[in-house]
């Protein structure tokens, strides 16, 4: 066994330790949170404040009707929902219209307004909705999340501390009828949730999940409004960072929200995680390397390829088994509805994710909702040039793709 193999074994063991610290941090956060939940129902509020829920819509997400409906069924005294779209032809318009018809007693606004303030289409969608929001608390909630009835009550609670600036949530992937969506849910329920908890618990970093962000209007104004993140790909991370820099706390709420992924294709899964990888590479820089080092399954494959032996194969199988057991444990902790047998696919997913890890090192271009951008530091977006070598390469590849479609 060569020195390189021993070094990889060592890195894999370190990666596994890191992974089990993630598992521990998930447990710790959820158990502590559950205790807090029992102690205080509505926090120290005399009267629960009104919340404006901004729902930016673009296209059909899996489970869209139920996702939007879950926001209408909140056990919360005063809130409004603003569904915001860029144009009437968006298929989500019809769904939002149906929800509005089904709940005539709810304060629902369906806002269709073309906004081209920046390059981030989600922020472009949010700016007109923010303008008409009437309450002091602004919740930005993505269209692909489904929440339980007590969601608003749970996330407002940390604001009984005047030092709180932003409350975000953990997400878990549910559903999954296709391989792509099963991989997506496995990844959300291990790497994503684990990393968020690890960063929050050990590194005390403000790690914001853009699918759910509750903030005060005056804090948003203080950081320059939503316009301040209009050209950022990771608008959620930057919002959190700016609020943190104001001296406010960024709180990871106890409440887990669902991200329903039913019919994702494999390509969709890979595209999303390549994009997210590029984003983390441009935000984290050298820290991005830790993601590769913590992917124990992927690293354990290398000794098998380059120095196949009973020891290296057994080691890889041992690592895969530990990873599957760890993922099942996380699944149980977060009460996922995934079939436990599907966790056996986790090592394959980890290998795919390991392969996509390298793409951000080679390319800084992203295709997001039909638009092509170049990512700069801190996830700043600039439009992809319409001339030059990049453009012609893109045109050339795209022409071939279209011909063979």
């Amino acid at each position: 066994m060569g020195i390189l193999t021993i070094m990889i074994f060592f890195i894999v063991v370190l990666g596994l330790i890191g992974y089990f610290l993630q598992v521990w941090s998930i447990r710790k956060i959820l158990i502590t949170s559950a205790e807090q939940r029992i102690n205080r129902r509505d926090g120290n509020f005399e009267r629960l404040p009104g919340i404006s829920v901004l729902k930016p819509l673009k296209g059909l997400d899996d489970n869209l009707f139920d996702n939007l409906e879950s926001m209408c069924n909140q056990d919360y005294p005063e809130y409004e929902i603003i569904f915001s779209l860029q144009d009437y032809n968006d298929p989500a318009f019809k769904v939002a219209e149906k929800i509005k018809e089904k709940y005539p007693e709810k304060k629902i606004t369906l806002l269709v307004e073309k906004c081209c303030a920046g390059l981030n289409p989600k922020v472009n969608n949010l700016i007109p909705a923010y303008r008409i929001a009437k309450y002091d608390y602004i919740l930005i909630s993505d269209s692909n999340v489904m929440v339980s009835k007590n969601y608003l009550r749970e996330i407002i609670r940390p604001f009984d501390d005047p030092g709180t600036g932003l409350v975000t949530n953990l997400i878990k992937g549910t559903g999954g009828y296709t391989l792509g969506s099963i991989f997506e849910n496995l990844h959300l329920n291990s790497f994503v949730i684990g990393s968020v908890c690890f960063l929050d618990r050990f590194l005390k970093m403000p790690c914001v999940v853009g699918k759910s962000m509750l903030m005060k209007k005056k804090d948003i104004e203080a950081i320059g409004g939503l316009e301040s993140v209009k050209d950022m790909l990771a608008e959620d991370y930057i919002l959190g960072k700016k609020i943190y820099n104001l001296g406010k706390k960024v709180v990871l709420s106890n409440h887990i929200i669902k991200n329903v992924n039913n019919y994702w294709g494999l390509r969709q899964f890979l595209n999303r995680h390549t994009r997210w990888g590029k984003l983390r590479w441009h935000i984290g820089g050298i820290k991005y390397l830790s993601e590769l080092l913590s992917n124990s399954v992927f690293l354990s494959i290398f000794p098998v390829i380059f120095s196949p032996s009973l020891i290296t194969i057994s080691f890889a199988l041992f690592v895969c088994t530990l990873k599957v057991i760890g993922d099942i444990h996380i699944g149980r902790t977060i009460k996922t509805d995934m079939n436990m047998f599907l966790f056996l696919l986790a090592p394959i997913k980890d290998v795919l994710i390991g392969l996509t890890w390298f793409i951000p090192l080679l390319s800084n271009k992203v295709l997001w909702r039909g638009n092509r951008y170049i990512i700069m530091n801190d996830s700043q977006l600039i439009p992809c040039p319409e001339k030059g070598i990049f453009y012609y390469t893109y045109r050339f590849v795209n022409t071939i793709k279209t011909r063979f479609a």
Binding site: G59, L60, L64, F65, A92, Y263
Partner: protein, 230 residues
Amino acid sequence: MLLCDFHIHTKYSDGSVELRRTVDLFGQAGFDVISITDHVVNGDNTFGKLAHRFKFSVKKDNFNKYISEINREAERAWEKYGMLIIPGVEITKNYLSPDKSAHILIIDIKEFIPACWDYEKIFLEAKEQDALIIACHPHHTSDMTNRDTLFLWNNREKYARYIDAWEIANRDDVFNVISLKKYPYIANSDFHRARHIYSWKTLLDCEKNTESVKQCIRNNRGVAITLFRN
């Protein structure tokens, strides 16, 4: 305008999505009217026998179960999504030659109609049941995996009078011949897999109930087609 799809298959025949999930898929996407139309295949040749053998066909034995499950789902869909579901079948007459093959949607079917009957008998029985008769993918299609079904188009002089509407578009294909002949038209997905939801659809300007929908298609006024994309 009502967003409609009248050509949807489930696991009752060769679709890959179960009936309940299919209903949810269309409901979650905001559809107003859909028709579940699983295949009823002619069992009088090898193709048909294979389809029966591998359960790719609704048969007389399970027709009532099929209809009652659709009706149960229809209640749920109406309650939850405000979506109207109309039971139907796709009479599937498959032969070796595309010129002899034809697929016909019978929408709002009440009693089982065997696919091995001759065309005239099928049409008259469908009329008797006050069902809609739609000629499916009547011309050459781009789908390499499917055989063309040209019989009705080749014999349009004889059968057009029975047909309430022709599919002017099916999934990704558009049949301009229907337009040139000025026949009444609708557009459908021929849904077999979840991704087929993004395809040609019909828009109807009428009330959301079965009779109005049928009347609107028969009169072919207030009918438009749209390419439903994400």
